[in-house]
């Protein structure tokens, strides 16, 4: 079989590009991802409740057989278990002024709130945002529904949060766990 000739210089350039430039550039520019991993216990979930209260509430919700909501602390937040998921909601009502933040802005705000609450931390995840204007007789608002996937590429378990962000801030979130 006939052989083909490949200039050595080309081979060296190719190897340098793929073995040196590619990995180095990926490491250098590795700073534009949302750095999150979900944790659903271990610190305050809501700003209004204490660490211990929230941990106890989540433990209670996980342990309980029924889906009765559990209200704890002075914050008025409700924790319950629906279809195997833990849900947290507040009694806030959405105000009239629509939000004027972009989807990415909303994502950042929600992630910051979730971080501050200790719900998410650490590595990266995927975040998707939907945005809807809706109104009723009593109020109108823009609702951002943000799905955050705590999915490490090599992690078998997928953790996710479905967060709803309204004019009042983080309105509710649902933790999905496997």
């Amino acid at each position: 079989m006939k052989k083909i000739e490949i200039p050595r210089l080309y081979v060296y350039i190719f190897l340098a590009l793929f073995l040196v430039v590619l990995p180095v550039s990926l490491v250098v520019f590795n700073n534009d991802r949302a750095q999150i991993v979900l944790v659903y216990s271990g610190s305050d979930v809501s700003p209004n409740e204490t660490h211990t209260e929230v941990k106890a509430a989540i433990a209670q919700v996980i342990a309980s057989d029924d889906s009765e909501p559990i209200k704890i602390g002075s914050g008025g937040c409700v924790y319950n278990r629906i279809n195997g998921e833990i849900a947290y909601t507040t009694d806030k009502h959405m105000s009239i002024t629509p939000l004027s933040v972009s989807k990415r802005g909303a994502t950042k705000l929600v992630l910051n709130e979730l971080r501050a609450c200790g719900v998410v931390r650490g590595n990266y995840c995927f975040a998707y945002v939907s945005c809807e204007n809706f109104s009723s007789e009593s109020h109108a608002a823009t609702q951002y529904t943000i799905s955050i996937f705590g999915c490490d590429f090599f992690d078998e378990g997928v953790r996710s949060v479905l967060a709803v962000y309204t004019n009042d801030g983080l309105d509710s979130f649902v933790l999905f766990y496997n």
Binding site: M1, K2, K3, I4, E5, I6, P7, R8, L9, V11, F14, L17, F18, L22, S25, L26, F29, N30, D32, R33, A34, P69, V78, N80, I82, N83, E85, A87, T89, T90, D91, S102, K103, R104, T107, K108, Y124, C125, F126, A127, Y128, V129, S130, C131, E132, N133, T145, S147, F149, C151, F153, V158, S160, L162, V164, D171, S172, V174, F176
Partner: protein, 291 residues
Amino acid sequence: MKTFKVSKMFAAIIAGFLVLFATVLMIFASNFAMSSYYDIPINPLIMALFSFFAIAVAVWLVLKIFAYSKKGSALFFAACLLTGIASESYGIYSDKISTGVFGIFGALLIITALVFGVFSLYRSKNKVMCAVIEAVFGAVGLFLTVGAFILLTKESITKSAWILLVFPICILLIALTSAAKRLLSKLGRALKAVTLLLAVVALISYSAAFSSALTCTYNYVTALKLPTALITSAYTDGDILFHFDFIGERAYISADEVGDHTSKLTHSYFSNKINFSEYPAEKEYYFQNRG
């Protein structure tokens, strides 16, 4: 220049490996892009760029392998194209939206076959064929350049969409410099360098547009055509762009990823306009359980 002498079989295996490597890079690029905040994420851009570069090297190797065999070239073109179509079809069939490895591997094989076909025809030195190829590329480049200019005048388009203007201009200029190189043999070497430079710029800008598309969709095939689809939409839409709706495709997340909820997502591509998507499942769930 010193050279390595390698068998054609070995070169073919390397070319195949490069296409597989490009596929893996694309998958990583998609995963990275989805978690990025930026319109044009850098990391996926680098991965997409190297992925397309790997395809270019694979095509170059195959062109060398079949340099003196028209029959071999035709067979390779047909085999590569058919395998690509079969792989992509299976990807679409199995994943519904061509997000899997078969989908992108098929798409890259089709790109390899088409680029190889065009270069093989151009290298045949047939004047009519060369002129036709240059004319087609020139017309496509001009059409997309004008489209990109119109697109950038729209209110809803973000500033970073200027990247969509770069690669059509490069395609147009490549067609012009190729024609000039063929007709003005004295300037051949200089024009060849210019053409190569333009090709590199085109590759970088398309990779940027593609990586941005990957932030909007898991669907690689959609992401591949999204830059040109958005430019083309400039001719038909008014000030309001419909993006995925206009193109007729949406990004879906499989229900497995979000538990019992099926999420439909419509992201904006280089647009300030908020897309209003329907989320019946999440909406209903939210209002049922918000206490």
